[in-house]
Symmetry: C2
Subunit: 208 residues, 2 copies
Amino acid sequence: MPHTPAAVSNRRGSYASGRARRDEIVQAAIVEFSEVGYYGASLRQIAARAGITHPGLLHHFPTKDALLAAVLAHRDAVDLEAMAEDKAQGRSYLEALVRLVERNGKRRAIVELYAALSGEATSPRHPAHAFFAGHYELSVRMAREAFDKLRDDGRLRQGVDPAWAARAVVALMDGLQIQWLQSLESDTGAPVDMARDLRAFLESLTLD
Amino acid sequence: MPHTPAAVSNRRGSYASGRARRDEIVQAAIVEFSEVGYYGASLRQIAARAGITHPGLLHHFPTKDALLAAVLAHRDAVDLEAMAEDKAQGRSYLEALVRLVERNGKRRAIVELYAALSGEATSPRHPAHAFFAGHYELSVRMAREAFDKLRDDGRLRQGVDPAWAARAVVALMDGLQIQWLQSLESDTGAPVDMARDLRAFLESLTLD
DNA sequence: GTCTATATACCGATAGAC
DNA sequence: GTCTATCGGTATATAGAC
């Protein structure tokens, strides 16, 4: 049996397998991008977090752009899988949204990643611009369909426009993330409870 | 009468006065920071936008940090002046907020500046972190006082918590800015109307 | 798969002439 | 007040040894 890459040793004790090493790098990149954004991050710092040198990193991801794309794809996969699980268990899209926000309340780096990148990426020249354009388009459309269904079921409060509610719920989630992150740094009172505030908004729109 | 700096000529035709030149640099910095954030911006690029070299810029603002501070102070001054004007004319804080959002709908660079910097600045090491911490603290407190007054006047819908409404209105403004900026790049339908969506939220909370 | 060494470019900031 | 020239540092990316 020929030796595999995973069996080769180096000063870290042993090589991680290709897949595991890529995951380590992606995790390190999430932390770094979340703290200083895409432009502020350096491949050397990310590589150091992952325990390798920056040419070592570039063996797995040929450019900084490619690494960012891998980070975003990874996050999409994780969240979409969880949402699909919720859907399989019969939960509505809006219920799944609240659960997503609850989970995010325990994963600061992920929230910081989205806050830092979504702000940077409003500029069309940012390498994540297309990703976030698609992300918002999808999020608002899914929320819109959920509110349409609520209205058809007669459970939407009178006078509430589903299209408005969809934009508002997505906007509220984004804005609450920023306030939550700020509240973690501040020493004034309890941190913002994103899921509770989101739930309060949804309840203010529905009849039950 | 001794000559003033404003009277000296250079290849641009004439020197701007100290004050005017500082304003030109601040305007250039707003554009650059808004497009690539603080970390992504370079003093050379900002200086080029303002029509000078980067050591010329550093004569007016000794460090990149100092330039950022000047940009934020300038924005604060402009917005607070407009809010004070509204207050002097008898408008409520929430009405002034809607008018602020209406004005922002015609000043894309300003909105992009806040979106890019507020995302970056959630990290405590960012040079604008303290500014945004204070900004959010103040915004939420002012909104809270406005909703408290509405409740005392019996004009707040039953069951609406003023503290929640304050966090939500600030969050909604932030989130709508990101969606508005994204909608300007997209070719699908009309752009998001931030002021209209904000007004709809406020109306959903009040009785009149 | 990871390393050292290096190429090339840009960064923020300073020195000193005009 | 603005310039040219430059310093020391870091960036992304590549070459080539192991």
